[in-house]
Each structure stands twice: as C-alpha cells, then as structure tokens.
C-alpha cells in the first residue's frame, strides 16, 4: 500500500502521555496546521512519570508533574475518555463515552499499565499498591506518609528498587522480595546487578533473593498484615507494593486486524502499523511503549522498550511521517537509553545488553561505586552502563552504535588495566 495522497486535516492521537504529547509538539514543529485531537483515559493533562518513583513518593517539591506544553499547541484534549475499538477501514475509533471519532491519521500511543498482583481479591486490599500513574503515586505516597511499620515490595526491577530507595529515604523499614538470584539482572546483567545487590543491602533494605510471595494474610478489615512466602516463611508488612512490570494497553486493538502481541503493536521502520498479515496500514502509526519496532542498529531485531527517550524520539519520527508523503518518509532508529536513580546513585545505560556474555569495567571501579562498564556479545560492544559517571557515558555511545570490537582497546598508556569478565547469565 502507498501513503495516503490527501494531506491530513484531522490527526487523532490515542494516549495523552509523553509519546502522545511529543507527537503533537512535533506536528506543530513541522508546520502541520490541521486539527490535533489527543485522547487520554486519565483525567489529567500529559504528565511526566519518572519523577513519580524518584521524588513524588518522597514528598519532594510538588506532586504535580504535568509536562510543559507549547502555548501555540492548539490541540483538543479529550481526557477521561478511553478508546474501546478501532476500525481501520472506516478510519474510526470507538470511545468509552459512547462517541466515535474519525481520523485522517492515527497515532497509537496507549503505552502500558502496571501488571497487577495476580490475586484480584488480595490486590484490592486498601494497603496493596502498584505504581504506574500519577494517582497511583499520590495514593502510595499517602500510604508511606502513614509510617507503615514495614513496606514489602515485590519485584526486583527498576520500579521496585526505586520505591525501596524512597522508603529508605523516608526512614521506613522495607523488605524487597525478588524472584531471581539478583535484582535488576535483566536490565543490567549479573556484574552490575551484584553490585546493586550490595548497595541495596548497605542502605538497609532487607533484600530477599530467590523469594516468591505466595499469598497475603489479611486482618478482619481485609488489610494485609503479612505475606506468606512459597517456602512457608512469613513476612510481617502493613504496606505492600506489587512492582511486577508492565502490560501493554493493546486490548482496544483486538478485532482491528493488526499485528498485536504482548510486546505491543508491530510497526515498520517508518512507525506505520502492520496488519496481522504484515501489510502496512498507511494512515495508522504507533510510538512509545506500545510500539514493537525493527531496529537497524541491532540488525533489524524487533525491540519493545519502555524508555522515556524512545517515547519522545519515536513520537517525533511518527509525527513527521504522518504528514509526509510516501517519498518523504524517514526511517526510525534509536539507540535505547535510560536512567534510574536509587540509593543516591545515578545509573544510566545506553544500548541493549540483551545477549551480552561479557562485561568490562573501563573507567572507575565497582569498589568506588563510580564506574563505566561495557557489555560484549560475540566480541562486539553492545551496551554501556554508567554509575555516577554520566559525563563520560556519551563517549561510549558511538562504540555501542557501531558495535566496535569487545573488549575495548587495552594497553593504551593512559588506560587502566581492563579485565573482561563473563556475565553469569545471559541477559534476556
């Protein structure tokens, strides 16, 4: 299929968060003057999520994290309204308030939601929390302000660890239950994950590894008072946070005939969505956490990332392509990057450590808690991590983007001895 020949006059963006707002900004940046309608199922204008788990929980500054909007954005927001269905032949979206809206171009930017605690009755307890949205953060912040005797956090990913860090900053006792042998191992690999294990314990977190929570023990008011582990142990806790990762909000696309999976909606290199038979839908695009996209940098491997930087960059490319003709389409590619702040450390990563089997500290040292590490896979550099060394991380971007040989050059006069070490388990 070719691109639509008519210039768009109504662009609808479903999902009014970082990707959706970034796309709207980009449309105005490239001179699009038609209508922009942003549809968001939350009742508030687009807001930034990273501060929620890093500072809002601690009560720092303001709980209000609305994103800046340019004054001449001139977009129509329909907030508190979700999308229920999509008909790509009629170019029509069915909304939760019973209305419909037609589009000349559509951007799917519905992102993710927190994976809930699997037992619905337990999840509904008033002291069991998840963290994804603004309302979640304010709810949990109130719970933490009530000085629980012990917070139990289930899940050793970034959100779980960042919440644990906030709890320690608030002087709360906290247990972090992690199913695997190390926290953060999927994102950071075993060497940096083992480093973080030690940091987390040093900062007073009761870190339980290879630990699975089987169920909660409620009191007469259905408030959780303890968790029972699979091994029968009991952990007393009067505040529980399920930090089990995210689920992509694709349900409303069921029946639209698109290539949808738990990794999101498939797009081509121009951010245009694909049908179940892999045909391009020329007027429907996707960006952000919901997009499952081919990366040229990584040999056209399909990526599904939940990163702030990807949401912004992919939305900008999608926006440009929404108003470009077939000849003007630009390909999307992006070196994944993200940051985390926890336990007073600034952790940043560039690239994709998936499949890496070697790791080398190239600057600083684990002992000093300040270093740059590089990940190798099949003799190539595939990612780099910095811990409190952000200023030097950009120097490794090119090496990652170009997959230069791993280990990096050794023996330079001004270079410390670099000793690659195996990663204990492949990062998935």
């Amino acid at each position: 299929m070719t691109a639509p020949t008519e210039a768009p006059r109504q662009i609808v963006i479903v999902g009014a968060s970082l990707a959706g707002l970034s796309a709207a900004h980009a449309l105005r940046d490239v001179g699009y003057e038609g209508r922009i309608v942003l549809i968001g199922d939350e009742n508030e204008p687009p807001y930034d999520r990273p501060p929620l788990s890093k500072q809002v929980l601690r009560g720092l500054y303001s709980a209000e994290t609305s994103l800046p909007q340019r004054a001449d954005l001139n977009a129509t927001f329909r907030l508190g309204v979700g999308a229920l269905g999509l008909d790509t032949l009629a170019h029509r979206i069915y909304l939760s308030d019973g209305t419909q809206i037609v589009y000349d171009r559509l951007l799917i930017a519905t992102g993710t939601r927190a994976r809930p605690w699997p037992n619905g009755a337990e999840a509904a307890s008033s002291n069991v929390y998840t963290l994804r949205g603004h309302a979640d953060a304010e709810h949990l912040a109130r719970g933490l302000a009530g000085k629980p005797r012990r917070v139990l956090i289930i899940g050793g990913g970034f959100i779980g660890c960042e919440i644990a860090s906030c709890c320690r900053d608030l002087g709360l006792d906290v247990t972090l239950a992690v199913r695997g042998a190390l926290p953060l191992v999927h994102a950071l690999g075993s060497v940096t994950a083992a480093f973080m294990r030690d940091v987390i314990r040093d900062r007073g977190v009761d870190l339980r590894l290879e630990t699975e929570v089987a169920r909660f023990q409620p009191d007469a008011d259905s408030r959780v008072v303890a968790a029972i582990l699979r091994n029968g142990q009991r952990i007393e806790a009067d505040c529980v946070v399920a930090a089990l990762g995210a689920l992509r909000n694709t349900e409303w696309l069921a029946g639209a005939g698109l290539a949808v999976s738990p990794k999101g909606v498939r797009v081509d290199t121009h951010c245009r969505v694909l049908t179940a038979t892999r045909a391009v839908v020329p007027d429907v695009f996707a960006a952000g956490d919901i997009a499952h996209w081919p990366s040229a940098i990584y040999g056209n491997r399909l990526l599904a990332v939940e990163h702030w930087g990807n949401a912004v960059a992919q939305a900008e490319t999608a926006a440009r392509n929404m108003v470009a003709g077939e000849a003007g389409l630009i390909p999307y590619d992006h070196l994944p990057d993200f940051w985390s702040q926890q336990f007073g450390l600034n952790i940043k990563l560039v690239g994709l450590p998936t499949g890496a089997n070697q790791f080398a500290v190239v600057q600083g040292s684990l002992r000093d808690r300040r270093f740059i590490g590089v990940y190798g896979a099949q003799g190539r550099t595939v990612a780099a991590v910095s811990v409190d060394s952000a200023r030097w991380l950009p120097a490794y971007r090119a090496a990652v983007a170009e997959a230069t040989p791993f280990p990096p050059i050794v023996g330079a006069l001004d270079q410390a001895d670099i000793r690659p070490q195996p990663l204990a388990r492949a990062v998935s």
Partner: protein, 75 residues
C-alpha cells in the same frame, strides 16, 4: 510553571542548582531531583537554570502564556 528535565541528557554539571537552588538538587553525587511545578515567582531563576545547563536538558514553560509565549530551551 512546568519543568521537565531530560535525564538521559543530564550529566550533573549542576549549573541549574547554582541558578535555582530552591528548585534543583542532587541526591548523592549526580542524581538530579527538581521542582516539576515551580511558582511563577521563580520564573527568572528557572529561566537562568534553563540557560545555564550546558547540555540543554531542561525545558520549562510558564503557566501564564502571555508572559512567555514560547517554551524556553530545547529538549
């Protein structure tokens, strides 16, 4: 006002903290925390922080569009 910092870009030069000490701070050596919704009264300080950032990581807008019709800073 509304403030957002691209923390992929931030390299902890900490110039924002000198420019607007009540609205930006480091947690540890380089983890930046900041005021996402400063009062309009802080506008001059926030604008100084935006301009002082050597990696242009800060975006801020006024809630009073007539006073500041364009966003300050680049992302």
């Amino acid at each position: 006002m509304k403030v957002v910092v691209d923390l992929n870009r931030c390299q902890a030069y900490a110039q924002c903290i000198y420019a607007a000490p009540d609205h930006f701070a480091l947690h540890g050596a380089e983890a930046l925390v900041y005021d996402t919704a400063p009062d309009e009264a802080a506008r001059a300080e926030i604008e100084r922080a935006v301009q002082a950032c050597p990696v242009r990581a800060i975006t801020a807008t006024s809630d009073v569009p007539a006073l500041m019709p364009h966003k300050v800073g680049d992302r």
